[in-house]
Subunit: 152 residues, 2 copies
Amino acid sequence: MENIVSPQSLQQFLHREIPLSQAMQIAAVDVTEESVQLSAPLAPNLNPHATVFGGSASALALLAAWSLLHVRLRSAFPSVCIVIQRQSVSYNRPIHGSFAARAALAQPGEWPRFLRLLTRRGKARITVASTLDYAGEEVGHFSGDFVAFHWH
Amino acid sequence: MENIVSPQSLQQFLHREIPLSQAMQIAAVDVTEESVQLSAPLAPNLNPHATVFGGSASALALLAAWSLLHVRLRSAFPSVCIVIQRQSVSYNRPIHGSFAARAALAQPGEWPRFLRLLTRRGKARITVASTLDYAGEEVGHFSGDFVAFHWH
């Protein structure tokens, strides 16, 4: 599937619209309709134990997941509102350096139903999962339920 | 129970050790052995819909929970390491302004067992819950499982 938004364009959008993404020095690495990968360096995301603060790790995972929906919906629903309702995050081990989050739909087969509900009722829910990666290994997992609202 | 750390002192510690807490302009409002309340303003925590970014809300809730354990453990275990293992967060409604998180032990009765394990085995787990508050209402809920490590 073609890249519908360039990583540079997504990164600029995030830095402009979500100040915390700039404070975290988030970079957009890879953007397709199937997945979005974001990364961040250690320094602005430190905790007192010289590893990555859990709040930074979960925020990166959430932003990757949110961005995937943003990227998929922006052409058809330019004024759509995408908000998180629930999230669960597991942290498997400490992160000692730059880290990344890659998001994909938890159940890609649900997408047509999601679009249909969003079009007909102006509101629909979908789950996005992100993996947290550090030094080539999966170090955490995020699952988030999002609601998209669309005003006709 | 007496305040064992002043809010000012906790706030300075967080800003110094966790750069994201400074970027979020987190303030420590109330600190006791039973609960820790932190707050943050809207501006540095905005999302594209002009409400609070979910990643900021969950980071505030996590920091309040982490701080409660930090405050409770710092005298007896000055070199303890406190890390999050798992968290779940629900967001009930959008937050349009300054917001707060208040953390307390999910099961206060577990504290003696937690301290005993931490002392004997150098490692123990405990769950801390935070409520997210905005304009006098509970707008979200956080539950986090933390592990404390102690080197003898």
